[in-house]
């Protein structure tokens, strides 16, 4: 199977299993909404009765930020820790959800049920979590080597270089190297996940090693299948950046009754637009997994062993198709 065909197949499958995309999307939206709640409460409590809230509705005035930081010392730092913690929590959450999503790829035509989805989540949970830990160890190693090690080496060697242009390119090169290696680990983990779900019974460590071998053997195609949907998702963010009329959004509302009525509508439209983008990003993420599944399956002889052995859970329960 070519990488192009795998990507196409992946996009098709992602359409078929879009219910799983919704689960992924809503789980992360819920976490984000929870994480953002202190911002809402903080702004409302500190600023709700102040005229400065009108300036804040149009931008982020430095005066307000100064007031807020000075009035509640340490709160921003604590909030940053809270966000970092939730960010860490999203890693295992998405690891677990990936099991449910990937299991759907065994038979994309199968009707969707939340019960079935979470049964699959539970079925692969421990193996995927072990795989996640293996992946994190490798991410850590990459950081140590290319961020700390190489970064410190560059700092010590370029201390007396007078040309900031040269140092910039050297640092940028190191940064790109770091990203490439992080991406490579992510690629291996992705294919290992596919292997774990497709070939039920594979251990996490063996799946990681086998995936490493697979990625090295099929390097260009494996990378293409991984990267293209990811870039498409990233492009959505670019489109968002380019199209969102911030000027209009920040000035809409204005003073008076008309402004007050229009403001909730503007906020609602902004929220909908943002969530469309996020759904698109998750959709392309799932498309990447589906493409990897197709490509991996295409390079193996015979049907998926797991597909043969797995029970037709959703159909058996008579769930409504998604």
């Amino acid at each position: 199977m070519t990488s192009g065909a795998a990507i196409k197949e992946g996009l098709k499958s992602a359409r078929k299993i879009r219910s799983a995309v919704w689960v992924l999307f809503f789980a992360n939206l819920g976490l984000a909404a929870l994480a953002a709640l202190p911002i809402y409460r903080g702004i409302l409590g500190f600023t709700g009765h102040s005229l400065i809230s009108r300036e804040l509705a149009r931008g982020l005035p430095l005066d307000w930020l100064t007031d807020f930081a000075f009035d509640s010392p340490g709160s921003l730092d604590r909030y940053a820790e809270f966000i970092a913690l939730l960010g860490l929590i999203t890693i295992p959450v998405n690891t677990l959800l990936a099991g449910g999503v990937l299991a759907r790829l065994r038979d994309p035509e199968q009707a969707f049920s939340l019960n079935g989805f979470f049964r699959d989540v539970a079925r692969y949970a421990w193996r995927l979590l072990r795989l996640m830990f293996i992946g994190l160890i490798f991410y850590w190693l990459v950081f140590r080597v290319f961020n700390q090690g190489l970064g410190n080496l560059i700092n010590s060697r370029t201390g007396d270089w007078q040309s900031d242009r040269t140092v910039f390119w050297v640092r940028l090169g190191a940064g790109i190297l770091l990203l490439l290696f992080l991406g490579f680990v992510s690629l291996i983990v992705d294919y290992a996940r596919v292997r774990i779900v497709r070939e039920d019974g594979t251990s996490a460590a063996w799946a990681f090693l086998a995936s490493l071998g697979f990625c090295l053997r099929h390097f260009p195609a494996a990378v293409t299948v991984y990267v293209v949907p990811m870039l498409a998702g990233f492009a959505l963010l670019g489109v968002y950046w380019l199209l969102v009329p911030w000027q209009a959004i920040n000035t809409t509302g204005g003073e008076g009754a008309w402004g007050l009525q229009r403001e909730p509508l503007v906020v609602a439209l902004l929220f909908i637009g943002q969530q469309v983008v996020m759904f698109g990003r998750y959709w392309f993420r799932v498309a990447a997994w589906a493409g990897e599944w197709s490509y991996y399956s295409g390079t193996r002889r015979g049907p998926s062993p797991a597909a043969e052995s797995a029970p037709p859970a959703a159909k058996a329960e008579g769930q409504v198709a998604a």
């Binding site: 992360n28 809402y40 005229l51 430095l62 005066d63 966000i83 403001e263 902004l270 983008v277």
Partner: protein, 737 residues
């Protein structure tokens, strides 16, 4: 309109006749009897990072006292070892870490010092054996930054002495202001420099020093971690000898150069009426020179504007042409125009506002990367700082160029003692820099955080991405992920100021602040905010006149804080001593707040009233019903304004009623609170104390106002935006899943 045109034509005529007379003139000394005259030769050895020098110093005793000794600053000895006062003072752990990061190959090469090899009275005895190190500021016997030389005979009142001095300066790997990086040299604070002798009358102007009344003394402080410099005006005639491959720049005018048979070139720089001499050398500099032609740079309408503001005829605002030389790092060729533009804007506005820049030259040095020599000022010679890829809406190199040039007017021409009153230079200049930047440029774009979140990561997780390409390149809509908002010069210093506001008051010796951060806040940020506040109380025009008067009155002299305060009172015609007490001599915070708005219906009588000799009950319910039915409803609105901070200042309170009416009240702001009560047909919708934000020093602008109804628009909008950012953050984290 017609009147304006006539004024405009008259001004053009006036300036047109005055201009040519002033252009192209060589500098003429303004000081009849300079206290110091240095005639110096120095030779740079790039291999050993050493400057060997010799000078003859003619020093005039301008007092009526006999002076038995001489004091010299040996600033470079601050970098001699870890026991100098400079290295020991404050923030030890931070400085230690910095010194550990301060590397050179071989390691001993990084240290710097200056040796006085010989001191001799010209045609007289050798004074070298009498030299001793002294420590006027602390008991640090290891510090060698002040040298005392005993004279065989005191210098008679109004007498002069001529000294011949041989010295060797080993330049440090640049740690602060001076030194080398590779083959780049910024040579500053490099020669044995005589201190300032203050006569009794001068010292008695300094309050709180009983000893000061008795007699004069040397004012020659040790080199401290944060303080800068103080010296007398004089003449510098310096010959610098460097290998011919080096491009150099220095204080003053280049009078000549000669090629030597040993492959070196000797340059002669000369400048009168300055109090220091610094120079730089590097084989890599691109040397660009342009002329500040005041006739082209200053528009007629600007002259009209500023002559009105300053209440002066336009002729008095005439400026001189200046030859500006930029010594640029080759990487920064693309930033040359921005450097020149900033320098020209600074020459123009400082000149228009405070008085003509009197010197013929200005040298702007673009320092080498990692040299720790950027952002410094020396007479007619400044160092800037730039990135090869500057952001369109960041003030690099503009901010630093304007600021360092501005020092020519404060540190340079109004040469107060920076050891004792750093703020008179740094603070006034920070204020002035802000005024130039907001006049000449659109607001700077701020980047508060990465991805809008104040995320702090463990150092080893922080990806070393150079900040500058991402800091506001036009055309890349980064606004959604980087908070990019206009920074107003007026209050941009508040965040820094507030964190250190209670540590010290402004009026303190530079080395006696709590720590380096407090020095910085009380010398720069707090002063700029305080002067903005003062400007709000006096009015922009009065402030501008006062600043100009202070500058011109104290040119080529050494003022102290009271001199500045006296000028403010004199020019404004007001007694502003309350202000100086509150904001210069104390560390009190200013914080006024509207703490409550309550609105009650005025319902008429409720209760028992004596009416017609009887006790008549007026019940609540009928009163309420009567109020509801009434076409002429009245409401009692009560607004409480409080002084939450310790600083006291008069403030205005602006009240908005629901029907659009506004009422402005005045409050002296002295007691802890005040209350305003109104009975009107309309309710108070909002109230604002200090609505014009006169108090730039205010600790909390958000509580300055209060609305009767809560407004959740800002919270909702930021909530939605924040959710999206977090979703993307979590999405990115998902790649590690």
């Amino acid at each position: 309109m017609r009147k304006h045109l006539i004024i405009f034509a008259v001004l053009l005529l006036a300036v047109g006749t005055a201009g040519p007379m002033l252009r192209g003139q060589a500098y003429k000394s303004q000081i009849a009897n300079p206290i110091v005259r240095y005639k110096m030769t120095a030779r740079l050895d790039p291999a050993t990072k050493t400057v060997k020098g010799h000078y003859t110093l003619t020093w005039w005793n301008h007092t009526q006292e006999s002076i038995p000794d001489l004091y010299f600053h040996l600033y470079l000895n601050a970098f001699k070892n870890m026991d100098s006062t400079f290295m020991r003072e404050r923030d030890i752990s931070r400085r230690r870490q910095r010194v550990e990061e301060w590397t050179a190959e071989p390691e001993e090469q990084k240290w710097g010092w200056v040796d006085v090899n010989k001191v001799q009275i010209v045609g007289g005895p050798d004074l070298t054996p009498s030299k001793t190190f002294v420590h006027p500021d602390d008991d640090n016997a290891a510090d060698q930054t002040v040298l005392r030389v005993e004279l065989p005979e005191p210098i008679a009142p109004l007498g002069t002495i001529e000294l011949a001095v041989d010295f060797t300066s080993k330049l440090p790997r640049a740690l602060a202001r001076t030194g080398y990086v590779g083959d780049y040299f910024l040579v500053a604070q490099w020669f044995p420099k005589i201190g300032v002798y203050e006569r009794a009358a001068e010292r008695s102007r300094k309050a709180g020093r009983p000893d000061a009344f008795a007699q004069g003394a040397w004012n020659c402080h040790q080199f401290h971690a944060d303080t800068e410099f103080f010296a007398d005006f004089g003449v510098y005639d310096v010959e610098l000898n460097v290998p011919s491959r080096f491009v150099i720049g220095a204080t003053g005018v280049l009078r000549g150069e000669r090629r030597n048979s040993d492959g070196t070139i000797t340059y002669n720089f000369f400048q009168e009426d300055v109090h220091d001499f610094a120079w730089t050398a590097s084989p890599h500099f691109l040397k660009l020179t342009r002329k500040f032609d005041w006739g082209k740079e200053v528009r007629a309408d600007e002259l009209v504007t500023w002559s009105k503001v300053l209440d002066l005829p336009a002729q008095e605002l005439a400026l001189s042409d200046v030859s500006v030389t930029l010594l640029l790092q080759p990487d920064h060729r693309n930033v040359a125009d921005r450097y020149f533009r900033a320098a020209f804007d600074a020459i123009k506005y400082y000149g228009l506002w405070y008085g003509d820049y009197p010197y013929d030259t200005l040298t702007v040095v673009d320092p080498a990367r990692n040299s720790n020599t950027g952002g410094m000022e020396y007479p007619t010679f400044i160092t800037g700082g730039a990135y090869f890829w500057p952001g369109d809406r960041s003030f690099t190199p503009e901010g630093v160029t304007v600021h360092e040039f501005g020092h020519q007017f404060w540190y340079g021409l109004v040469a107060n003692n920076e050891f004792e009153n750093a703020w008179l230079d740094e603070g006034l200049n920070t204020y002035s820099t802000g005024k130039v930047l907001e006049t000449a440029y659109p607001p700077e774009c701020s980047y508060q955080s990465f991805f809008g979140a104040p995320v702090q990561l463990h150092p080893w997780l922080q990806v070393r991405v150079p900040p500058f390409p991402f800091a506001g390149v036009r055309g890349i809509p980064m606004g959604a992920y980087f908070s990019c908002d206009d920074v107003l010069q007026r209050t941009e210093r508040r965040p820094v100021y507030l964190w250190q506001a209670k540590d010290d008051a402004i009026l303190r010796n530079g080395w006696e602040y709590l720590d380096g951060a407090s020095y910085s806040v009380n010398s720069y940020d707090r002063v700029a905010l305080t002067l903005r506040t003062l400007e709000s109380y006096l009015g922009e025009a009065v402030m501008a006149r006062a600043m100009r008067t202070y500058h011109l009155r104290w040119r080529y002299r050494h003022p102290i804080p009271q001199d500045f305060f006296d000028v403010i009172n004199e020019v404004s015609g007001r007694d502003m001593n309350w202000f100086f007490e509150q904001f210069f001599r104390s560390s009190n915070l200013a914080d006024y707040a509207v703490t409550s708005i309550t609105v009650d219906p005025v319902e008429g009588k409720i209760g028992i009233y004596d009416e017609g000799g009887k006790k008549v009950p007026h019940l609540e319910k009928p009163a309420e019903e009567a109020f509801e039915k009434s076409k002429d409803k009245q409401y009692r609105s009560t607004v409480v304004v409080r002084r939450l901070g310790e600083a006291k200042a008069p403030v205005d309170v602006l009240l908005h009623f629901e029907n659009g009416e506004t009422v402005r009240e005045e409050w002296d702001g002295r007691y802890r609170w005040t209350r305003f009560v109104y009975e009107r047909a309309s309710k108070v919708a909002s109230a604002e104390v200090d609505p014009e934000r006169k108090l730039a020093l205010e600790a909390n602008f958000t509580n300055n106002s209060r609305t009767s109804e809560r407004d959740n628009r800002a919270a909702a909008k930021w909530y939605v935006r924040w959710i999206f950012w977090l979703e993307n953050l979590f999405f990115a984290a998902g790649f590690f899943s």
